[in-house]
């Protein structure tokens, strides 16, 4: 089963669709978690996901706002979608009717 951070990357990449690349995925994760996401963790996890066949990445076109530098684009593969779905189902199942609000 994939890990929590792997799930975050898969979910962010799916949500961003055609606009999924390093900086945008990082932004999405930081907004969702409210915690900083390091480039090191993001890129090494992206590599791992790609090695597992859950994500496909490629170099996009250079843009002016990035000082003429290219983006590392990402897309979730069907296997990645299946892995993320399995992770979500497991979390939902194990959570059941637990209410996490503080008493």
């Amino acid at each position: 089963m994939i890990g929590e951070f792997e799930y975050l990357i898969l979910a962010a990449t799916l949500r961003l669709a055609e606009e999924a690349y390093g900086a945008s995925i990082r932004r999405e994760i930081e907004e969702a978690t409210g915690a900083p996401c390091s480039i090191g963790a993001l890129y090494t996890t992206l590599d791992r996901l790609e090695a597992k066949g859950l994500v496909k990445t490629w170099m996009g076109e250079p843009t002016a706002e990035r000082g003429g530098r290219a983006k590392r684009m990402a897309r979730v593969t069907p296997a990645g979608r299946k892995a993320a779905s399995a992770f979500f189902r497991t979390i939902t199942r194990i959570t059941g009717d637990i209410v996490w609000s503080a008493r």
Binding site: A23, R27, I39, G40, Y43, M59, E65, G67
Partner: protein, 213 residues
């Protein structure tokens, strides 16, 4: 982004592959975070990349060499222990001694102990080699090569004295045994080859046999 820290960030980013460097520096520029955070980010990534690149290279010798050294020290200790009894049993051997019950009592008393020591050495060597092979075949080959090189030389003296509590050859009463070149140098090498190197080689050959069958 500009300034010394950004220049330093770009300098460190040179360690990365060109495509990754391009994407990462672009991400840092686009994010608009401070240069301190950009520097921290690039340091984190390069460190992770460096560790990923180095670990496979250092893990193999870190596993294989200490195991080989430890087994060599053990083999040499056991070899010295066996040497004393071999010298006692064979050095004064004649037809009269063979008919003496005391001689056979000594042999039957000590032989199980020697057999147990040899069997343990074989098992430790086999399992160490299997462990190394489980990590990678090159680690197991490095382990066997180290055992082969250490067989005639032995482990470094400082290591032997630190790892061995009692060494038979340190007692003057055993000088007569270890004055002989055979028991002093050749026999330990022979014991290491037979009871350490051969089992180690057997352990790394096993997966190949399984694959073939």
């Amino acid at each position: 982004m500009s300034g010394h820290l950004w220049h330093l960030t770009q300098l460190i980013a040179r360690i990365l592959q060109p495509a990754e460097r391009e994407a990462v520096l672009g991400d840092l520029l686009e994010s608009g975070h401070s240069t301190t955070r950009a520097l921290r980010d690039i340091l984190g990534l390069t460190l992770r990349r460096a560790v990923r690149g180095i670990v496979p290279h250092i893990a193999s010798p870190l596993l294989a060499l200490p195991l080989a050294l430890l087994l060599t020290v053990l083999a040499r200790n056991i070899a010295d222990f066996i040497a004393i009894y071999l010298w006692l049993w064979t050095g004064n051997l004649d037809t009269h001694l063979l008919t003496t019950s005391g001689y056979w009592h000594g042999v039957t008393d000590t032989a199980p102990e020697l057999l147990l020591a040899c069997s343990s050495l074989i098992l430790w060597s086999w399992s160490s080699s299997a462990l190394a092979a489980r990590y990678s075949r090159s680690t197991a080959i490095l382990f066997c090569t180290a055992l082969l090189l250490l067989a005639p030389l032995g482990a470094p003296a400082f290591l032997t004295s630190h790892l061995s509590l009692i060494r038979a050859r340190d007692f003057h009463s055993n000088d007569a045994v270890f004055r002989s070149l055979f028991y002093r140098s050749l026999f330990p090498c022979l014991v290491q080859c037979l009871f350490v190197l051969v089992p180690a080689l057997t352990a790394i050959q096993k997966p190949t046999q399984e694959t073939v069958s």
